[in-house]
C-alpha cells in the first residue's frame, strides 16, 4: 500500500499513535509525530512510498519528532528529533519540524549504515549509469539535482550516496530533495511538474523546502545502479557550461574527506573508494544555466559506453 492511499485522518491517527511504518530505499522506518506540519510534509512528499498500516513488527529506525514540553507551546515552541528515545540534536523551532525529520533521517543512515560507504553527495542515474555529485554547500548541487530529476534522470539520493561495500553498486534512497533559498523559485519556474512543499524559514541554512521525488524514482527505489561518473558541480553567475576532467587521486581524497563513515571502515573504506574512482570518469563541472547543465549531462549519458 502507498502512503497516498491513507486518508489524512488515518495518517494523523497513526502518527499520533503507534506510528507509521514506511520503506525508503533499503531502510524501513517507524515514524511518530504529533506535529501537524510533519503529517502534512509526509502526505505531500511521501505519497508514492510503501507504508504498512497494521503494526509492522520490525523497523530499521524508530524515530519521532515532537515538542519537548507541552507547556512551552506558547513561549518559543520547539521540536525534538528522537531516535529510539535518544535525542541526538538540540531542539529546533516548531516551524522546522518537517525539515528536522529529514535531517534526522539522514543522521540515522549516516551514523549506522556501515554496510555502505556513505558519501555526502547527490546521485542520479540515466541509461544505466549513476552520476555522483559531491559538492560543498552553496555550489548549487541541489538545484542541479532537482533540475536533472525533473528532466528524466532517476533520483537515487539528494544527500547520501550509498555505495554497497560488497558490490560497489549505488543503492537508491530517493527521499525528497531539499532546496534552499533561491533554489526554490528557480526550480518552481524550471518545471511545472515540480511539487515543492511549504518552506520553513530561518533555519541554519536559510529558507528550506523539499521537492517531491518523481514517481518513477520511487517505483525503482530497490534497483541499484553502477557508478559511472563523479562530477563536481559549481554554479557561478554567467559561467559557461563546461566539463573538465579531474585528477582521480584528488577526487578520491575529496570523497574520503566527505564521506560520513570513511574512517569507520578502515582499509575497506580505502578499497571501496579507490575502486569507485577506478571505474568512474571524474570531472569538474561549471555552469550558470540549468537547462544547459541538464543538456550537458544528457550528452554525457548518451555517449558510449553509456548510451542506452
Amino acid at each position: 500500500m502507498k502512503l497516498l492511499q491513507l486518508s489524512s485522518a488515518d495518517l494523523l491517527e497513526c502518527l499520533r499513535g503507534s506510528g507509521i511504518w514506511l520503506r525508503t530505499g533499503p531502510f524501513s522506518l517507524r515514524v511518530r509525530s504529533r506535529v501537524p506540519s510533519v503529517a502534512a510534509g509526509l502526505a505531500d512528499l511521501y505519497g508514492q512510498f510503501e507504508v504498512r498500516r497494521a503494526h509492522e513488527s520490525f523497523a530499521d529506525f524508530h524515530v519521532s519528532v515532537n515538542a519537548p514540553n507541552p507547556l512551552r507551546r506558547w513561549l518559543r515552541p520547539q521540536v525534538d528529533f528522537s531516535f529510539d528515545g535518544q535525542l541526538p540534536f538540540k531542539p529546533l523551532p516548531y516551524d522546522q519540524a518537517y525539515p528536522m525529520l529529514e535531517w534526522g533521517l539522514n543522521w540515522c543512515v549516516s551514523m549506522h549504515a556501515h554496510q555502505y560507504l556513505i558519501i555526502h553527495a547527490a546521485v542520479v542515474e540515466k541509461n544505466g549509469g549513476a552520476a555522483i555529485l559531491p559538492a560543498p554547500p552553496g555550489s548549487g548541487k541541489s538545484t542541479l539535482t532537482a533540475g536533472l530529476v525533473l528532466s528524466g534522470w532517476r533520483l537515487l539520493s539528494d544527500e547520501l550516496t550509498l555505495i554497497d561495500r560488497k558490490t560497489g553498486l549505488i543503492h537508491p534512497l530517493p527521499r525528497p530533495v531539499s532546496l534552499k533559498n533561491q533554489a526554490i523559485p528557480v526550480i518552481q519556474a524550471f518545471s511545472r511538474e515540480a511539487f515543492i512543499n511549504r518552506p520553513s524559514h530561518d533555519t541554519a541554512k536559510g529558507t528550506v523546502a523539499h521537492l517531491r521525488p518523481p514517481k518513477e524514482s520511487v517505483r525503482r527505489q530497490h534497483e541499484p545502479a553502477p557508478p559511472a561518473w563523479v562530477i563536481f558541480p559549481k554554479w557561478t553567475a554567467g559561467a559557461e557550461t563546461r566539463l573538465t576532467p579531474r585528477s582521480k587521486a584528488q577526487t578520491f581524497m575529496f570523497l574520503a574527506q566527505n564521506a560520513f563513515n570513511y574512517s569507520h571502515l578502515g582499509a575497506d573504506g580505502f578499497r571501496v573508494g579507490t575502486q569507485l574512482v577506478d571505474r568512474t570518469a571524474c570531472y569538474d563541472f561549471s555552469y550558470s544555466r540549468l537547462d544547459e547543465a541538464v543538456a550537458a549531462f544528457d550528452r554525457l549519458a548518451d555517449t558510449p559506453p553509456w548510451a542506452g
Binding site: 585528477s247 582521480k248 587521486a249 584528488q250 578520491f252 581524497m253 574520503a256 570513511y262 574512517s263 578502515g266 582499509a267 580505502f270 578499497r271 579507490t274 574512482v277
Partner: protein, 83 residues
C-alpha cells in the same frame, strides 16, 4: 604490508593500515617514494640526482628544498624510513 598504495598516473593515494590515516602523494612525493623503494639507502643528494635523470624537471624549480621537505614528510608519515 603496512601501507596500501594506489597510483593514478603521476599521483597516488596511500592508506596506513596501522593508523587508519589516508594520504595524498603529489607527483614529487610519488616519484621519491618509488625511488626509495628501489634504492632504500639513498641520500637526499642522490635522490635529487636520480630524479633529474629520470624525470623532466621544470627549470628554476627550487628542487633541493622541495626534495628535502617532501622526504621529511614521507618519513613523518612512515612511508619512508629515515636513515
Amino acid at each position: 604490508m603496512r601501507f596500501q598504495l594506489k597510483e593514478y598516473g603521476a599521483e597516488a593515494v596511500a592508506f596506513d593500515t596501522a593508523s587508519g590515516d589516508t594520504h595524498y602523494l603529489a607527483p614529487l612525493a610519488l616519484a621519491l617514494f618509488q625511488l626509495y623503494r628501489e634504492f632504500p639507502g639513498l641520500s637526499s643528494d642522490g635522490a635529487r640526482h636520480m630524479l633529474a635523470q629520470r624525470h623532466t624537471i621544470e627549470p628554476g624549480l627550487p628542487l633541493a628544498t622541495q626534495v628535502d621537505e617532501t622526504l621529511d614528510g614521507l618519513c613523518r608519515i612512515g612511508l619512508i624510513r629515515p636513515e
